[in-house]
Symmetry: C2
Subunit: 283 residues, 2 copies
Amino acid sequence: MIIDGRKIRDEIKEQLKEKIKNLHKDLRLAIVLVGENLVSLKFVEEKKKFGLEIGVDTRVYKFDEAISTTALRDKLAEITRIKQNTGIIIQLPLPPQINVQYILNSVPPEKDIDVLSARALGDFYVGRSPVLPPVVGAVKIILDKIFGDAITENLTNKNVVIVGAGRLVGKPLAVWFINKQTTVSVLNKNTADISKFTRDADILISGIGALKFIKANMVKEGAIVIDCGTSVEKTEVGEKYSGDVDFDEVQKKASHITPVPGGVGPITVAMLFKNLVEIAKIK
Amino acid sequence: MIIDGRKIRDEIKEQLKEKIKNLHKDLRLAIVLVGENLVSLKFVEEKKKFGLEIGVDTRVYKFDEAISTTALRDKLAEITRIKQNTGIIIQLPLPPQINVQYILNSVPPEKDIDVLSARALGDFYVGRSPVLPPVVGAVKIILDKIFGDAITENLTNKNVVIVGAGRLVGKPLAVWFINKQTTVSVLNKNTADISKFTRDADILISGIGALKFIKANMVKEGAIVIDCGTSVEKTEVGEKYSGDVDFDEVQKKASHITPVPGGVGPITVAMLFKNLVEIAKIK
């Protein structure tokens, strides 16, 4: 079964429209964008579009590729002080000269809807964050759809394997599954025999950004396969976006699978705005 | 090879004595103890003794088993305000009526040498904490002793399996290994086939508090086995402390193994005081 991420996104969109109507507040998402990374620009466009559709103003603060950490931190201090900015996100990746975590830490927890500052991540780690990191929220919704109300019982007896231990996908998901008392293995580029782990996974999640890395012979029959990777694939007719999973092969074995594009990505955008609304409700 | 935790503790003790001498500051560890749990009392005694030996004053704040979360939080606010308390720890476990994380969060990061508040854990999660959770520090020292300067390269190609995902052992260790780009699996009481994972572990760590749970047939020949569990074992001649690992059996297969008592425990106590000194240096 192919998980339709756009359909789930649209369901969340309708819920958010309602919630925003009842909030009677002007909401604004501030996006901090450094440089002109193509995938980043694509994601920023998607966020602007989603915001527009649900009645959330989006403001993009653009900075030069060559900006220093200090200059960017100063700019962020200004941006966070602006009351109209309900939530603030820093579009990743940042250029190599930037101290990334130091910059992410400058977003105050009450505006940190990406859950990337140390403060917000500490609350998330101990299971007390009011919002989940957007990719975690997206994976949770996908699993909710599959397991229904029995999600907790269903997770505790599953073997979860996460390929990649990055800031946006693997690491927060690992912590979330640990908090759920799920058995979880976290692999990375150093792992000697990735297939040995993935072939035993009831739930296989990948977030490495390596085009079609996960092949059918790495997947267990009936597994749930969630693809959080995005890469640019060159084809005869131009470029397109594809995921970490070799979708055409793997879909024959998986019980549930997310495509790229149209899987985790759109839901993640929706979860970001869900976080914005949640945070606005608390304030 | 049996890792001699008391010897490592004594090495750290000598280093700390030197450091404290050069600090020219009075250091005090405040221990918050609720109720009269026997294992807790044993650990508190060990901490007091270690403090005495290195010239750190230890003060135990004792509260009744029946204290409420609110009352304990109020008491903690007083204790943290006392300037003489360089570091503050809350001896776990706390009685069931207590909201544990809320209480742990009341220790300010600059005094949180157990790294259990959300603030301190957020810094640890993102790899920016000035100190490590004591058990993580203990495991790191053990691995440093085994691998020497090549620890980073040695960790990236190892398969680490952690049995237990608790607050003090499994969870912080999982995050530390993820940060080190190590392959790590985290198991718990729900895991269907624990042996299947443990038999492939190059480094096997247990922290569940289940007496002699890890048997020789669950361990790979030549594995490093680190036992972070403590249970009370009833024997014909009385009670004694034992670990999660069936030491007599497993030591024949392991390349390195920590005993209980005399393994991770004493090093963890030393690391707690190392954190106290590190934090005092920063202030």
